[in-house]
């Protein structure tokens, strides 16, 4: 099926559509321009001289030609249309057609006549052939068509009218301001004040759970992030892996992501170097704790295999259940899958280390006691690192986390400014309500 792209939002619409299904932009003019351009290109393109056309016997009665693309018969599709009074009268009207047209409204892509979609008071006796209603401005007609052609969304009449003239969101300027607010302090290493982020519940408990492990405790780690999310998750995972190494835990790592094992090995090596430096250990002294990292394909349905056959996966070095399990997951679903597929089977306590976006979704699992600890985002990582530096002073505070906190403040300041300025602009540029 051929399609036509909306010049405004890029949505693919069926060829021949008058208006965009997504934003209501008029497509007919764009399609006509495209057809004209194609025609011009065909005419101007050099090619072989046309061969003589063979004579084809023409039928005596050709079938009726399809209507030409144009707005002559549909004046309500023009933006300058002044209202239903300007519409030509409908010759064949009946209530069944009204109902059918209204039901088909989302599917006929803007071919709806204005008399069909304007609200008609049932008490008024209006002849269908001469509908009378107040003039409807073109912009409102466009808005109504857009609302009729899109799936229902949250909103009420007040919001609907306020959307009729939304202020432009200048994303380029927003990105530029955000980029400069982060780039300049990072590039010039400006000495900026640093505030401590809020400490969320769950971090203390995660620290205590690891601190309370016996020496050489068996810890199973589910590594559910890869380089795409490493920028955020590495900073959260690093202090926890350092803590596990400091507690001499026997770690085994399993990942369902192809890029997971490589990410895990890189971060564990980074933590091991930090730990060596802080404890003045040589590589030979800590080489007894080799960390197995396994990749398992098959998605979340295979997680039960991890719970039941861990000995087989790791070649018999581990016994079920582990003393502790830790999920390093970029998304809330990673932790949910573990809590649904593995935790009910092996009954080991679970600590979740996730991105900031997963926190609101995982908070109920923390409140219900299914999670023994929850460390999320840069603020969770900072809180954990602070606890580590406070109670185990040999481990140095992370300069990268300090820088993350400062630059987060600058980024959030830009967001705050954008929201305030956007609201002010919307307040002063709002069109009067009809």
């Amino acid at each position: 099926m051929s399609i036509v792209r909306c010049p405004h939002c890029g949505t693919a619409n069926r060829a021949g559509s008058n208006f965009c299904n997504s934003c209501g932009t008029e497509l007919r003019a764009a399609e006509e321009r495209a057809a004209e351009r194609r025609h011009t290109e065909d005419v101007t393109r050099p090619g072989p001289p046309p061969a003589a056309e063979p004579e084809i016997p023409r039928p005596k009665e050709s079938p009726p030609e399809p209507p030409q693309p144009g707005l002559a018969g549909q004046p309500w599709l023009r933006m300058e249309f002044g209202g239903v009074d300007a519409a030509p009268p409908f010759e064949e009207e009946d209530d069944a057609a009204h109902v059918a047209a209204a039901r088909l409204a989302p599917g006929i892509q803007g071919l709806l006549a204005p008399v069909r979609i304007t609200v008609r008071d049932a008490g008024e006796d209006q002849p269908a052939s001469a509908p009378r209603s107040p003039d409807i401005p073109a912009e409102q007609m466009r808005l109504v068509r857009r609302r009729m052609g899109s799936p229902p969304v949250l909103g009420d009449a007040e919001q609907l009218w306020s959307q009729s003239n939304p202020p432009n969101l200048r994303l380029t300027w927003l990105f530029l301001a955000l980029g400069l607010a982060i780039l300049l302090p990072a590039l010039l290493a400006l000495p900026l004040p640093k505030g401590a982020p809020a400490q969320w519940p769950g971090v203390d408990e995660a620290f205590d759970a690891i601190q309370g492990l016996p020496v050489q405790a068996d810890v199973l780690v589910y590594w559910a992030y890869d380089p795409a999310a490493a920028g955020e998750l590495d900073e959260a995972a690093l202090p926890i892996v350092e803590h596990l190494l400091q507690r001499r835990a026997r770690i085994s790592v399993v990942s369902l992501l192809p890029g997971g094992p490589a990410t895990a090995r890189r971060l564990i090596e980074r933590a091991r170097l930090e730990w060596q430096r802080s404890e003045n250990l040589t590589a030979a002294a800590e080489s007894t704790w080799a960390i197995p990292v396994q990749y398992l394909p098959g998605g979340a349905a295979l997680l039960a295999h991890v719970a039941q056959d861990r000995e087989e996966i790791f070649d018999g070095a581990q016994q079920d259940p582990p003393d502790l399990t830790i999920v390093f997951g970029a998304q809330a679903e990673d932790v949910q899958h573990w809590l649904e597929q593995v935790a009910p089977i092996n009954r080991a306590p679970v600590i979740a280390v996730t991105g900031a976006a997963a926190d609101p979704i995982l908070r109920p699992y923390w409140n219900s006691g299914q999670l023994a600890g929850l460390v999320s985002g840069f603020d969770g990582a900072y809180s954990y690192q602070s606890l580590l530096a406070e109670r185990l002073p040999r481990l140095a505070p992370s300069a990268a986390l300090d820088r993350q906190v400062v630059l987060q403040d600058w980024g959030m300041a830009i967001f705050f400014l954008a929201i305030v300025l956007g609201n002010l602009a919307a307040m002063f540029s709002r069109s009067p309500e009809p």
């Binding site: 349905a301 809590l339 009910p344 900031a356």
Partner: protein, 249 residues
């Protein structure tokens, strides 16, 4: 050996540096460099995943045991047979779909049926595991926890109040999502209309608050990723001789 590892590290860092810049260039508008970087990254990720799957899964867990003829070899032949049927059915669908319209459809129907059987089996296993997991890991524990809060005699006095507020906000949000005031409230008496309108108003605000909270954490998360990438760039720049020269000025 050490010097070659350092060399590869340096090359990798510079490749990452330029690819980051190429991807960031999309901010200035769609351009061939950004598209090239995206295509290369997707291709490299897929190729890497395919090599990993072949090296760490197919070879050691399927083909090696089959080649050695170990006991329990059905465990290996069964997925191999399923994969073969799926692949042949897929190739038939993709390659021969248009080329052999007039071919006798018997063997193709059989093949497609076998392919659907395997797909249904995999889908059924996934759905079964997902539904059971959701029941035992989310629905039942969350329900039990919510139910326990109100019935603990030693619970602090504010907990029932919190429970009541949660109930009011939850029902208000659900009402706001599923109730159309224009259709459903018109025939109600005046006092009910006012009550329901107030409840809907509350639900709308609760929804906005929840959406705002989720969006704020999402913004913090994405900002962390942006900061990590930008600090990677600035660290690279700080390590260059050009930056050292610039600082000496």
């Amino acid at each position: 050996m050490q010097s070659s590892a350092l060399l590869f590290d340096a090359i990798g860092a510079w490749v990452a540096f330029f690819f980051t810049l190429m991807v960031f260039s999309a901010l200035a508008g769609d351009n061939p460099l950004a598209r090239l970087a995206q295509h290369i990254l997707v291709g490299a990720a897929l190729g890497y995943a395919a090599v990993l799957a072949a090296r760490h899964v197919l070879l050691p867990r399927l083909f090696d045991p089959l080649a050695r003829g170990e006991a329990g070899v059905m465990d290996g032949w069964l997925p191999l047979g399923m994969a073969a049927v799926l692949i042949i059915a897929g190739v038939d669908r993709i390659v021969f779909r248009t080329a052999k319209r007039n071919a006798p459809p018997g063997w193709r129907r059989l093949l497609h049926g076998a392919g659907r059987l395997v797909t249904a089996l995999l889908l059924g296993i996934g759905l079964g595991a997902g539904i059971m997991g959701a029941l035992q890991g989310t629905l039942i524990p969350q329900y039990l926890r919510a139910a326990q809060i109100g019935f603990v005699p030693s619970a602090p006095g504010y907990l029932p109040l919190v429970g009541l507020l949660t109930l009011v906000l939850t029902t208000a949000t659900l009402l706001h999502l599923y109730l159309d005031p224009a259709r459903h409230l018109d025939r109600q008496p005046g006092y009910a209309r006012g009550l329901m309108a107030g409840w809907l108003w509350l639900g709308q605000r609760a929804l906005w608050l929840a959406a705002g909270l989720i969006f704020a954490r999402l913004a913090a998360s994405r900002l962390s990723l942006l900061i990590a990438r930008i600090t990677f760039l600035t660290d690279m720049i700080h390590d260059t001789a050009f930056w050292t020269w610039l600082q000496s000025l």
